[in-house]
Symmetry: C2
Subunit: 208 residues, 2 copies
């Protein structure tokens, strides 16, 4: 951790049904029990402006894929400047359910927006996680988990099997390209085992 | 005009009260009278998605300046891909009331977002006007015109005199840097004279 940013920025990534929200909440609980300030948040969202943008993204208005990508980064810029940077500056642990790897996986690998466009937007926001967990789950297991949920249909879940396969391939490619930042976690384990694996990885990699 | 883009893309820029909307409508009328297909549009807006983003931008939810910038470009990307590119491809004259120079003037010069950030977003959208008119009006005249309107208060107009001065300086700097694309029009003339000056400039510069 550089002195300019004493906090710890952890992001969780993966497809629908991988258990990100549960794992993020469990990890937050552990850090809180250790006496640390924890900001548990999610994207798109985390500020009133970003939640308004989220509503637009999850709504019925048709939007070009590049426009959707820019909306994700608009929400992210608001979240980063209003919440994440201040929290990290005062030393908090920030745990964020989805971050820019999701935009790369869904909008580039899934919807065909160029990787260079998403990379340019990442450079504009310019806040990078200290560590990212990719919660990895075989597609059949993820689909079974999703089917057992109350119908959570949104723009993505409605996009079907091929789209989800491209997104899953995207996450694997992103993780392969950033092994120093992204740790792959077996999400077929129990929630407790997933959280324990994340906590141990943070100890090893981020010395925290 | 390249064979790949047979149409003509005209944008109008300038501060509030310069008469852009009236001038755009007048220019559209002239081209229609010449028998051409004309798309008269505005930014932010021009598609259902972009209008929803416009409502967010003009609303009361606080938004970081970089987030506002990205929202403008999200709306623009939707407008460009859904409306402008198809219209230009079939040979239409597109007349747009505000385009990316406004984002540069308001968000960079006015609100302090870096010029490089806006330039990066311009490169992502990658559709450039054939000709841009900067409707230039002395600040006192613009303020008098605004005062005579029914109170059109929005995020910008509420920002006051210093902000509007920075925006005006921004437009002048942008025009100075792109003399081949941007023509400055004296907006203190009558609406008819402004439209005639634009039509003549298009004839001279764009050979149309």
């Amino acid at each position: 951790m550089s002195p300019a940013r004493p906090g710890l920025f952890v992001t969780l990534e993966g497809g629908e049904g991988a258990g990100k929200s549960t794992a993020a909440a469990g990890l937050a609980e552990i850090f809180r029990a250790e006496g640390l300030e924890v900001i548990l948040t999610r994207e798109p969202g985390g500020t009133p402006g970003a939640e308004a943008i989220r509503a637009l993204l999850l709504g019925d208005v048709p939007l070009d894929p590049l426009a959707q990508t820019m909306l994700h980064f608009a929400a992210r810029a608001d979240h980063v400047e209003s919440v994440l940077r201040p929290a990290l500056a005062r030393g908090a642990v920030v745990i964020c359910d989805r971050y820019y790897d999701s935009t790369m996986a869904y909008q580039s690998y899934g919807q065909g927006v160029s990787i260079e466009a998403v990379a340019a937007l990442i450079r504009l926001v310019n806040l990078h996680p200290d560590i990212t967990f990719l919660l990895d789950l075989p597609p059949q297991l993820a689909e079974a988990r999703l089917r057992s949920r109350a119908a959570g249909s949104d723009r993505y879940e409605a996009m079907g099997h091929d789209f989800m396969a491209r997104v899953a391939h995207g996450f694997q490619s992103i993780a392969a390209a950033a092994p120093g930042r992204i740790a792959i976690i077996d999400a077929s384990q129990s929630p407790e085992a997933v959280v324990a694996a994340m906590r141990e990885t943070i100890r090893t990699r981020a010395r925290r």
